[in-house]
Subunit: 249 residues, 2 copies
C-alpha cells in the first residue's frame, strides 16, 4: 500500500505543463543543501535560470555556505513558485530534488549558461565574472508539484528536462532566431503575453528560446510560453521560425 | 582562520531586531527536511506563526512528506522573508536551523499555539482541527540573516527566543490586555503602523502580543512591532499596559 495514494493525483500533461512553467519562469528559488558540519538541512535564497536543456541553474558565491556545502555533498532541493495575495498555500509551487553540478568556467556549457542567465538577471553582470562566483546546474531527479489545496503530483526529473538533439544549435543561434522571429511576426510578443495571462501594456520582450518554449521579461516580471508539443528536430533557421510561429496562438 | 570572516559582519542589535521581525511577521516559510529514503534535503512551503516564547510554529498535514520526514529526523531548516520588487537578493531573509518538536494535542502548549496561529491564519480554522493535522514547534538552534548584499550575520538560536517568566501569564491574558490597551490608547494601532512602515489607511488591528512585541494584521499583510527593550517581569495587567504604552513611539 502506498500511503501517498490518498493525497496524490495522477500526473497528467496539465500538471507537467504547470511544473515546467513554475520552474522555467522563476527568477529565484529556496535552495536546501546539507550542512557538512551538522548534517542539518540548510535553506537559503538563490537566483535561478535554466540551461538550454531545461536544467535549472543558479549563480552563487564560492564564499557562501550553500556553495561550500555542495562541494562536500551535491544533494540538494529547490522550491520554485512565489505566493501572491491571499493564502500562501493556495498558490502553486514546485519542489525538486536535484544533484548540483558545478559548471566549469572553461567547459563547454559555461558560455551558454552565462548568456542565458544574464538575459534573465541583467544586474548579475556586475558580479557574475568575479573569480569566486560560479554557476551550478541543478539536475532534477524527482519533483513534487503542489498546485494548490488537494492538487499534489509527483514527477520524475526527466519530465522537467528538454531532451533534444537540437539544443546545442539552438543555444548558439537563439539570439538571431528571436530577432528574425519578432521581425517577421511583430504581434508575437503581445500574443504570447495575452496567451500567458501576463500584465498588459508592459514593455515585454523575448529574452530566451529553447526547444520547449519562449521566455519573456518586463523588468522583474517573467513569463514562460510552453510550446505544445515541443519543437521536434530542426534543420535550419527557417524551419525553426515557421514551426515556432505555427505553435503560437 | 575562519574563512567566513571576509563576508560576515559582527552581529549587533539592529541585526537581531531585523532577524526577529523577519521571523515574527512571516506567514509562511520554505521548510527543508531530510528525506528519510534518499537522504536528500527536501524543501516545501508551510504556513508559520510563533509561539509565545518566540519559537516559530507551523501547521502541517500528517500525510505530507515533510511531516513524515520529521517523524524520522527532527533536523530542519526554514527560510523566512519574501522578496519584493527588483532583485530578489536585495531583500532581507532569515535562515534558521531548528529542531522540529511535534505539539501534543493534549499537552500544555497546544491551546495557546492554536489560538495564536489561527489569529494569524483565520482560514486555517477550516482544517486545523482535522485529525491528521498537527502543529510543530521549530526550536531555533542557529540562524543566518542576510540583510541584502554584503550584510550577512550569524545568530545563536536563543537570540530569536523570548525567555520570560511572564510568557505563560501573557499567553493566557493577551486578548484581554490587547482590548484594554486599544481602549485606553485609541491611536495606538495607527502609531504602530506608521512606526513600522506599514501601508497607511488599511484596516489594521493587533492580533498578537508577547513580551517582545506586538503583531498587526490587515488581510494578508502583517507587521511586527518589537519593544525596545522587551518587557521585563510583569505582575499585573495595569503594569503591562502602562509598560507597553510607554514603549510605543
Amino acid at each position: 500500500m502506498n500511503d501517498k495514494s490518498s493525497v496524490l493525483r495522477e500526473t497528467d500533461n496539465e500538471a507537467r505543463r504547470q511544473a515546467r512553467i513554475l520552474l522555467r519562469s522563476a527568477r529565484h528559488a529556496a535552495l536546501a543543501v546539507l550542512d557538512p558540519e551538522t548534517g542539518f538541512p540548510a535553506v537559503s535564497r538563490v537566483l535561478t535560470g535554466t540551461d538550454i536543456d531545461g536544467v535549472p541553474v543558479m549563480l552563487v558565491s564560492g564564499l557562501s555556505a550553500h556553495t561550500k556545502a555542495l562541494s562536500k555533498d551535491p544533494r540538494a532541493s529547490a522550491l520554485f513558485g512565489e505566493p501572491g495575495k491571499g493564502d500562501p498555500l493556495a498558490h502553486p509551487r514546485l519542489s525538486i530534488q536535484c544533484r548540483a553540478e558545478r559548471v566549469d568556467r572553461d567547459g563547454p556549457f559555461h558560455a551558454r549558461i552565462r548568456t542565458r542567465f544574464l538575459a534573465r538577471h541583467p544586474k548579475a553582470k556586475l558580479y557574475a565574472d568575479f573569480p569566486d562566483f560560479c554557476f551550478f546546474r541543478l539536475v532534477p531527479i524527482a519533483a513534487s508539484l503542489n498546485g494548490g489545496f488537494g492538487k499534489a503530483y509527483v514527477l520524475p526529473g526527466e519530465d522537467l528536462m528538454i531532451l533534444s538533439a537540437a539544443n546545442e544549435i539552438l543555444a548558439r543561434d537563439a539570439d538571431v532566431l528571436v530577432r528574425e522571429l519578432v521581425a517577421r511576426h511583430p504581434d508575437l510578443v503581445s500574443a504570447l503575453v495575452t496567451a500567458s495571462g501576463g500584465a498588459k501594456g508592459g514593455d515585454w520582450r523575448i529574452y530566451g528560446l529553447d526547444m520547449a518554449g519562449i521566455d519573456l521579461i518586463w523588468g522583474d516580471r517573467t513569463l514562460r510560453w510552453e510550446f505544445d508539443p515541443p519543437l521536434g528536430e530542426l534543420n535550419d533557421a527557417n524551419s525553426y521560425i515557421s514551426k515556432i510561429a505555427y505553435s503560437i496562438p
